[in-house]
């Protein structure tokens, strides 16, 4: 049984047909396990090699509902599999012959949703489906007797597949309060209780962008140290918001800030993101533009800064672009700092982006925000390796990936090239604070600059050749750390080579040259940056993706990155990046040499391979879009739903 024709069918009969990935290097055990699972009416895919399992998880993000794996495989790392599954927000059950306290503890701490001691029996396996439900509980609840459809996409119907439920859940970032807002484009903190009240103690508040912005403004006004829920609540002066809502949001916000700080300061390994802190991501998502930026930026568009949502920034970006130029230096500095964090994150969250449509809201674009990086969540591209949180598949992921890579690449260039990026970024993304939270923003900006640079890229044959390997593996899971490096390298190189010099101060040139000659170094550097920043990126990208408001706030840095990497592939990712980045770029076009190239292009309706076209389209599109819909609609328009197939 197990093989249902459609997801719906599988879901309807769930747990029948639940797709399980079973991993054990012992053939006898594996065969028995498989049979036991089949007896439970699950659909089983088995493998003796965790490498193969990892590949399957990465490449087919939506393929499984649950992973069950031995963790004592001598030649493989069961915990790695665990991490990846977690990033993809998949429940992972550990199997082990050891039942001692420490082993069990270790497994649970690593995030296993259950720990079974071998030999396992039918009894134990009959109920493992509960873990799938737990992971998607919001979706389940919503679908059970829901008269209220929260999913904006056409997919929203009660009989969604398990994977879809998982996606939804990812969007929810696992937080009650955020549960339904991601799917909806609400602007205010209205309470949504719906059918979930039975298990909730308090009504859920949707932390929309506006609401969050108010919140952040309040916190900033009061000062983070002095910001207590009561005062914040008074400051915000919103009906329907309770002190408890604010308190919990504040807690998440603080955690988010803390994580950003930590991420910046250290190289966050795969575990960094490993928490299933969807709320955290959500927070980051909402907050990316707001955190502590003002102190570092003198940007007049402080109001912009205070807006954490890119979608809003769209118009404001334009207005603030010019002044931004001045701040580029500050940006750059900031950028450096943040760069590290970006690199790694780019890859992960989005690794699966092409698989999932993260944007429930976007009409058909898979651009959906990466489902919250909740760690083990599948929604956000699988975090493989370094990026835990990102795990969500779907476009959002992909999109972010490109963005992330972009960001990372920019960040990885500590030298001038990165400065260039930043500089450009400044122009384009005034809102993007250099803070960690904004790292992605910066990157996005950078990507913009990168984009500019890219225009010339196609002409760089050598680059192209070199870039190929660095292509963003559209179907790879975000955990591809190495990937990031490649991407970054490419990006860095491209940027350094092309536009940095023109766009940025002369300091860039040397770097650019270096890069040109030594892409490898850059790559390494970028790689390092990635690891450092990866976490950040993830968070950021997750945030972006998770943007409950459905806006791709984050400048699609990764997209830019993608562009660079594969200049002929102006794939959607590029477009995506461009969209967000382009609009600001438009304004600053005059300041950017390369920009002109883009500006002149006619608008394309669809994805174009030509970078220029893509950018133009995006820019045009962006300009036409209203703030809130900019990213989404653009994405839709461009039909971004997967990364370049190559």
């Amino acid at each position: 049984m197990g093989n249902m024709d459609t997801e719906e069918r599988r879901t309807d009969q769930f747990p029948v047909g639940m797709r399980v990935l079973a991993v054990d290097d012992n053939p006898t055990c594996l065969r028995k396990l498989e049979e036991l699972l089949l007896r439970c009416k699950y659909h089983v895919t088995k493998t003796m090699e965790s490498r193969e399992a990892l590949e399957m998880l990465r490449n087919k993000s939506n393929m499984f509902d649950l992973v069950i794996s031995d963790v004592e495989m001598p030649d493989t790392d069961g915990f790695k599999l665990l991490e990846i599954g977690l990033e993809m927000d998949l429940p992972v059950i550990m199997l082990s012959a050891h039942s001692d306290h420490e082993s069990v503890m270790k497994g649970i701490i690593h995030g296993a949703c259950d720990y079974l001691v071998k030999p396992v029996g039918l009894k134990e396996l009959k109920n493992i489906w509960q873990h799938v439900v737990k992971k998607n509980i919001h979706s389940y609840k919503r679908n059970i007797g829901s008269s209220r459809q929260l999913q904006p996409s056409s997919e929203s119907n009660p009989a969604t597949s398990v994977s879809r439920k998982r996606k939804e859940k990812v969007n929810d970032s696992g937080d009650d309060e955020n549960d339904s807002d991601r799917d909806e484009d609400y602007g205010d903190g209205s309470e949504q209780d719906g059918d979930e009240s039975s298990t909730r103690k308090k009504p859920r508040v949707v932390w929309s962008q506006e609401l969050h912005q108010k919140f952040v403004t309040a916190v900033q006004q009061l000062g983070l140290d002095k910001a207590v829920p009561k005062k914040i609540l008074d400051y915000m002066n919103m009906d329907g918001l309770t002190r408890e809502n604010v308190a919990s949001h504040l807690q998440k916000y603080r955690l988010y800030l803390k994580k950003i700080d930590e991420g910046q300061q250290q190289n966050m390994g795969p575990d960094a993101f490993g928490t299933k802190d969807s709320s955290y991501f959500h927070m980051a998502h909402l907050d990316h533009g707001l955190r502590d930026f003002p102190s570092t930026r003198q940007i007049p568009s402080s109001s912009l800064l205070s807006r954490s949502h890119l979608n809003k920034f769209h118009p404001s970006v334009y207005s603030s672009i010019n002044p931004q130029g001045i701040n580029s230096s500050s940006f750059i500095q900031q950028g450096h700092h943040h760069q590290n964090s970006n690199s790694s994150s780019s890859a992960n969250p989005f690794g699966t982006y092409h698989h999932n449509s993260l944007l429930p809201r976007s009409q058909s674009v898979n651009l959906s925000p990466l489902e919250p990086l909740q760690f083990p969540r599948n929604k956000s591209s699988a975090y493989m390796g370094d990026f835990k949180s990102i795990g969500d598949r779907g476009l959002g992921g992909g999109f972010l990936d490109s963005r992330m890579s972009f960001g990372s690449s920019s960040t990885s260039l500590p030298s001038a090239p990165s400065n260039n990026m930043m500089f450009q970024a400044n122009y384009t993304q005034p809102l993007l604070r250099p803070t960690e939270g904004n790292q992605s923003c910066l990157d996005g900006a950078l990507s913009n600059s990168g984009v500019h640079g890219l225009s010339r890229f196609p002409s760089n044959n050598t680059w192209q050749g070199g870039l190929k390997p660095a292509r963003f593996p559209s179907n790879s899971l975000p955990l591809n750390h190495g990937f990031n490096q490649d991407q970054l390298t490419t990006y860095a190189v491209n940027n350094g080579m092309e536009d940095c010099t023109s766009l940025v101060s002369s300091t860039v040139n040397p770097v650019g040259e270096n890069m040109h000659c030594e892409p490898q170094l850059l790559g390494d550097f970028i790689g390092n940056m990635n690891t450092l920043e990866g976490q950040k990126w993830e968070e950021q990208s997750c945030n972006l993706l998770n943007n409950p408001f459905g806006n791709l706030e984050y400048p699609v840095v990764p997209a830019s990155n993608m562009v660079f990497r594969d200049n002929n592939n102006a794939n959607r990712s590029k477009e995506l990046v461009d969209e967000s980045l382009m609009s600001p770029l438009e304004e600053s076009a005059t300041t950017l040499n390369n920009h002109q190239e883009y500006v002149g292009k006619p608008e394309n309706a669809g994805l174009v391979d030509n970078q220029h076209d893509v950018f133009d389209d995006i820019m045009n599109e962006m300009m036409k879009q209203d703030e809130n819909n900019g990213m989404v609609s653009v994405a839709t328009r461009f039909g971004f739903d997967s990364f370049p197939p190559a």
């Binding site: 053939p27 006898t28 055990c29 012959a97 030999p119």
Partner: protein, 145 residues
């Protein structure tokens, strides 16, 4: 005939060659999956033969890499457990203890014992499966005719 098969099987349990895990395997066998137990048993013997070989070679080399030996034995024990090869499993456990204690002598001795048990079980199971086949469907270890 089928009763004989049942008796043979019962004796295997009684003598401790097999434990309840074997019964679990049988539970998984049904009309849709008529050879499951034999299939798994075959898989087991194939895999364990390979492991025994590896261990033999490692021991012959004389250099007692206890970690490696322990690792082999971990596998061996795992599969033995999953099919319910009780006596074999016991020997595996002992072997591992000697490994951990760094007792080469103990390892060698235990390994001999282990091989013996393994061979015995193999013979008995082969006999059992053969009988079951002859007895026709109805018993757990049956084959389609």
């Amino acid at each position: 005939m089928q009763r004989q098969v049942a008796l043979v099987k019962q004796s295997l349990f009684d003598q401790g060659y097999l434990d309840e895990q074997f019964m679990e395997l049988e539970d998984l066998q049904d009309d849709a999956n008529p050879n499951f137990v034999e299939e798994v048993a075959t898989l087991y013997f194939k895999d364990s033969a390979r492991l025994i070989n590896n261990i033999d070679q490692a021991l012959e080399r004389g250099s007692f890499d206890f970690n490696r030996l322990d690792s082999y034995m971990h596998q061996f024990k795992g599969s033995s457990t999953s099919i319910g090869a009780s006596k074999v499993k016991t020997e595996c456990t002992m072997f591992r203890e000697y490994c951990r204690a760094g007792n080469a002598e103990g390892c060698l001795r235990t390994f001999q014992q282990l091989k013996k048990e393994h061979a015995t079980l193999r013979k008995k199971l082969e006999h059992y499966f053969q009988m079951a086949r002859q007895a026709g469907p109805k018993e757990t270890a049956r084959r389609p005719k």
